[in-house]
Symmetry: C2
Subunit: 167 residues, 2 copies
């Protein structure tokens, strides 16, 4: 049964995954390259600023390091370095709240807010240009499918763990 139904499905899944990956990489590479050329900055830095801005709009003026790490889906230690560099550049500021001195809260400085506001519209323009080849209907379908996939990823993990790896 080296080439049964299951093997074929698996090969298809891998092919699909590789296509998704290469597409994502291409988009990301484009955004990185534009950010570097137009604003002399990097994607992780942009992500931090965008996340802080988003929090601000929600009413949360500042985020803790941990909250930032969760939202960006990167490790704690990574956030430490990123925020350090952004602070050195004067784009964010850190404060230690008196009620819990383990914490570190981060917020945008006015310079950081200004820098981000300059980048956001261009960022949207790049992204929407790259997605322009898809109709509104196709984009909606893609949105749904990826949402379903996201759910499936979590479920797949649990199942494989419960069952004990490969059968």
């Amino acid at each position: 049964m080296t080439n049964g139904r299951q093997s074929i499905d698996r090969r298809d899944a891998v092919r699909l995954w590789l296509r998704v990956l290469s597409c994502t990489n291409a988009i990301e590479a484009r955004i990185r390259s534009e950010l570097r050329q137009r604003f002399d900055t990097t994607l992780p830095r942009f992500d931090v600023l965008a996340q802080l801005d988003h929090a601000e709009r929600e009413g949360t003026g500042a985020l803790t390091m941990g909250e930032l790490s969760r939202r960006l889906m990167v490790s704690n230690g990574n956030v430490t370095g990123l925020v350090e560099r952004l602070e050195r550049e004067g784009l964010v500021s850190r404060t230690r709240p008196a009620n819990d001195r383990r914490r570190q809260t981060v917020r945008l400085t006015s310079g950081g807010r200004r820098a981000l506001r300059a980048m956001l519209p261009e960022h949207s323009a790049w992204v929407s240009a790259m997605f322009a080849g898809l109709s509104a209907k196709e984009r909606a379908r893609l949105y749904d499918l990826v949402g379903k996939l996201k759910g499936s990823v979590g479920a797949g993990r649990r199942e494989t763990i419960e069952r004990g790896a490969i059968e």
Copy 2:
């Protein structure tokens, strides 16, 4: 026109992009984690081995550093380091062909081939488990949409460059 038709489309495109990105990251994180736990290796190393194996099956016994860099879509310098580490571990070997001594050709060692063959079936199993929440029809639709998106990404780049950034 701060909130006209275009802005809304753009926001949608960004939302879609963020969903695609977070889904891809989740899948990649899972694969990285499994590779580390089960085989004590990393995704880039796996990618190099898989690419060399693929080339082997196509009849090309070995790849040059440049060809490897193109296929993996990473920089030249990056490949140098990756191959160095894999060579240190005895999984690949490098040779300098006599007819063009600028080049460096890389091939799997028997140990490398053995290591990869152990990983491949599990890798497929992880991926197909993560995609199992989608029906065959949905997977096919996703495959097509992502293919179309991939085309659109290239087209979007060209257009933005020609038109000169954001209008």
